[in-house]
Symmetry: C2
Subunit: 213 residues, 2 copies
Amino acid sequence: MEDDTRQRLLDAAEALFAEHGFVETSLRAITTRARANLAAVHYHFGSKDELLRAVFTRRLKVLNEERLARLAALETGGPVTVEAVLTAFIEPSLRLRRAGVQGERFTRLLGRAQIDASEALRDFLRDQYTPVLERFQRTLGRTLPQLQPEELRWRLYFTLGVLSFTYAGARLPQMPFAARVAGDEEWLLRQLIQFLAVGLRAPPVGEKTEEAA
Amino acid sequence: MEDDTRQRLLDAAEALFAEHGFVETSLRAITTRARANLAAVHYHFGSKDELLRAVFTRRLKVLNEERLARLAALETGGPVTVEAVLTAFIEPSLRLRRAGVQGERFTRLLGRAQIDASEALRDFLRDQYTPVLERFQRTLGRTLPQLQPEELRWRLYFTLGVLSFTYAGARLPQMPFAARVAGDEEWLLRQLIQFLAVGLRAPPVGEKTEEAA
DNA sequence: GTCTATATAGAGATAGAC
DNA sequence: GTCTATCTCTATATAGAC
């Protein structure tokens, strides 16, 4: 148990942060689950905040790179459909879920973070997401030229809302099924694409009646 | 300052919980903002948890009653459209936002709670939401008979995801606009209805068929 | 009802032996 | 790298004077 303590700490933190949230999870709970000593966290990561960032960087970088790669591959083949763009964005994250319980936990954490995140983490996530979102927004804008930029941004915002909510596994009354999504990612993907694609493609609403301050 | 201390405590708690989250907000921060003594929280509410529940009950009960009333009014007039059902659900909460900064804070808290909530609060919210969601699900099922129940539940789930995310005011890179929605609720309502209605009405995905529109 | 003072518990972080 | 022991801070909660 030399340096794979580091990995066990990351795994334990990922699971507990995803399940209970960052503040609600104590370092003691993490080290207990990881069968490590309390001081190990500070030795390997320096602080609880750094540990959280490490949990994200471990998987987020490759995830977003895969998204960009898929989108780039798509655009070499002429005009793209909304469905294809959505798939390029969603499939990599759903593959994480399919990959096992660790990946599923990470997407849960990712979903929570979009709403939960503290100021510091928000900056971190913004740096990670900005290039990806800008890229997808540009591509979608070309695919949906009838939409005004602000209207497109709103629909992309709604889209990310659906994804964050679903990944976070928000449990709603009469809908305990959200927790047992694992194992049917194919069906979930089709449901997501179907719902989101028609929403993005809907006719524009049109002008704003008045400008917000 | 007799018993409107109670109101000031609720206002301060609502604002701080919505902005920073439940665990991240200390009673000291609340009582400072409310210009009240620390012990006042325990005198008026008993505990921090009870204070949180009181913040919710103050507005949630009447909100959900209004939703049910609108839906009932709708159904006396023959067949209903998806748009009308969505409006019956969304408009009351958007009216809260329009009503002022307090209402806007509450919807933000409500959005966060759908993902954030601890086990105890989740039970509380489930009790509050179950009758409303069941009712809307039944009405939507009659309006969209082509959808299998599970497919309908997913689409309702996505719908609530969009609403929670939007109310929570999740800030995304390149999308700082979410915070300044206040002041243009009419436009936001039309955007929401447009996006969600077509999603709910989309052709069923079905069992094993593969299809692109 | 409102205040001061304090009890009690738990958190993150660190020093230093091994 | 890992451990024990401990520092320091802040939290919720409560007792009791006024």
